[in-house]
Symmetry: C2
Subunit: 234 residues, 2 copies
């Protein structure tokens, strides 16, 4: 059996142009990789070109991870079985975390290929680090249900779970609903529960603030319509 290719999970910046967050290993491997799975091929091409001006992008093969259909696993297996090293890229941040890239790594494992994660920015981790909330027990819950009563029930359940387990609960929202979500959190959670809002992380205008719900209520901010992470600890 010939040697299989390696699957590299390649993080990209979460804020436009925030190359100060890119580890040297990302630069090293993106200089060499000729095969990619990407959540958004246009973003991936632009990112590679911005990192390595000398790269001939036309010589690099990309397979887009379809939002509904997922990745083209036949192509992935073919490349890895041929011994080609393959990169995986999200639209932003770390592939496989809060995005649909995990199946690519799962298939690589299923054929016995080596999977190598490269270090880069994750908005969830950076938010948790900066929040001052419990980082020894935490849960990422993705998006809350959009409609009530499911939405209110979920929020109350997360607060109850956080209190019971002393566990930080993280969730996200579509940017244009940030202010609506904030209103709901302030309405549903106890005054003593701590809430961290982390927005535009790693950008020059990053906003990361933790205080009790009671204190948030005294002076409620108007959030930008940009990606935000919400964290609560009851």
């Amino acid at each position: 059996m010939s040697k299989k290719g390696i699957l590299y999970l390649v993080p990209i910046p979460i804020a436009e142009g925030a190359v100060q967050t890119l580890s040297p290993e990302v630069r090293t491997h993106t200089k060499e990789l000729k095969y990619y799975f990407a959540e958004n091929v246009r973003t991936a091409r632009r990112f590679l070109k911005s990192l390595h001006r000398e790269l001939v992008i036309e010589e690099i093969a990309f397979s887009e991870i379809d939002k509904h259909e997922g990745a083209d696993m036949a192509t992935l297996k073919k490349w890895l079985n041929e011994g080609q090293n393959v990169g995986v890229m999200s639209e932003a941040g770390c592939p496989g975390i809060a995005d649909p890239g995990a199946e690519v790594a799962a298939v690589a494992h299923s054929i016995g290929a080596t999977v190598v994660p490269l270090t880069g920015p994750s908005s969830l981790v950076l938010a948790l680090m900066a929040s001052g909330l419990n980082g020894q027990s935490f849960c990422f819950n993705g998006y809350l249900p959009i409609k009530d009563p499911a939405r209110t029930q979920k929020l109350k359940a997360l607060e109850a779970l956080s209190r019971k387990e002393n566990q930080t609960q993280l969730f996200i929202e579509t940017p244009y609903r940030n202010n609506q979500l904030l209103d709901e959190v302030l309405k549903q959670c106890s005054d003593s529960t701590r809430l961290c809002i982390a927005q535009n992380i790693t950008a020059a205008d990053a906003y990361i603030k933790t205080q009790s719900i009671g204190d948030w209520k005294k002076k409620k901010p108007t959030l930008e319509k940009s990606p935000a992470v919400f964290l609560i600890l009851a």
Copy 2:
């Protein structure tokens, strides 16, 4: 009121000498910072010296975060209120994640100081990325209880929760008990549950493998006595 200092959360490598995982912003800020809270001052000094040979370590003030007593918050407030920028460092990886550093960020928030997380390696995130398990819903549970029946009960509860919520459950163990934990996971969890073991992440001898409990049972590895992350998805 004078301008407060900024609190920087400074990640350090998780594998000895793995500087390829260090983002440029870590280099930039560690060149300037003169005040630190560190989980282990000796490790912190050695790391800084390895990054910047020209640094005069004796000019840098360190306050050790005591494992039992926590950090000296009076000193933290004093430094920040004086307008000094302060760094926080774990023994390895990202401060505030799976270590006792979170209170330092919490106190910085409580006095209205800005908290800035820098990008670096986190074994939990890298393990999750590479696992191919669900990264859209996941939970880090720290250490399992040491004694039975609490330990077995917790393991079974995590598997049930994982099944109910389609949620990846992460946990860690003291390195010398890795093999014991693996035995228990193989004994208690269903054959169809997937288990990822991620060990020595970012090191040359990294071991990251995901397969079903049934497949793990067929050929059980002997794990090294080094830090490992265990992830299950039922």
